[in-house]
Amino acid sequence: MPEFDVVDLGPADHPDTGESAPDFTRPLVTDEFWEDRTLSELVGEDGGGQTIVVFTPMIGSFVGTYVWEELRDRDWADRADRVVGVTASTPYAVSEFITETDAPFDLFADPANDVADAYGISHDLDGMAGVSEPRVAFFAIDDEMTITASWVATDWPEFPEYDELEAEFGF
């Protein structure tokens, strides 16, 4: 194995299973437009069920690209009731990304990174003053906004074992 260093972010102070997922309103970007949407309303649509909220670093990072391409290739859009992303990027960048990668997911645009802050998974970027972004993180929530399972990166970069994650999320 080649030696290389990853950045140790340590454990995050995020809400755990059984706790309420912080609610938020942000522009939700589809492949055609964006509009303000509220998570707590979104999770109740189409009979409710399970919503997976996926946080990735900002659009343009390889980390975000890899995560979304993996979820696309694993057909998460069909296997989960609902998958939405959150990234610290503008709606314009998110829109272009969705088109380019054929991601069958809608992503919340949160340029100020406040949502990641509320979830306790924000981190500052060394060498990019004034910029913060989310860690890679997955939260499964039910239609009552209760967290039923989660995975949060402790390194940067770090990706989950997707097979294990799918088992934990029940699909």
Binding site: P15, E19, S20, A21, P22, D23, F24, T25, R26, P27, E32, F33, W34, E35, D36, R37, T38, S40, E41, L42, P91, Y92, S95, D114, V115, D117, A118, E144, M145, T146
Partner: protein, 114 residues
């Protein structure tokens, strides 16, 4: 609704608003419609589209054109493009009749859209 501990953002926004408003950021014709919607205190949901006409398939599908503004009013079943037409529609449908607060510059009413 659950007792969420931390709310980010102060508005609750879903699909309940009766008017859907397709708009483009910093488009003066769109802002004109926005001002009127607000003046009449109408509930609306903004949908922002991109500058490139070729990327506005949703507007084309909804209204038959690629220009914005476009409004879809579920209360009346009206879908309408072109700001001057929309302003006329909003004034005649929701205006109090004697209101002069909305638009005074009639000469600009025929302006084009983005």
């Amino acid at each position: 609704m659950s007792d969420t501990t931390s709310d980010v953002g102060d508005t609750t926004t879903g699909h309940e608003a009766p008017i859907t408003f397709y708009r483009l950021q910093a488009c003066p014709y769109c802002e004109r419609v926005a001002r009127l919607l607000e003046a009449y205190e109408l509930e609306y949901q903004s949908r922002f589209v991109e500058p490139l006409h070729s990327k506005r398939d949703v507007v084309k599908r909804v209204a038959g054109v690629r220009t914005v503004p476009v409004i879809v009013d579920e209360q009346t079943g009206v879908t309408m493009a072109e700001s001057a037409n929309i302003v006329d529609y909003l004034e005649s449908t929701y205006g109090s009749g004697d209101s002069s607060s909305s638009e005074t510059e009639t000469g600009a009413a025929a302006g084009g859209d983005d």
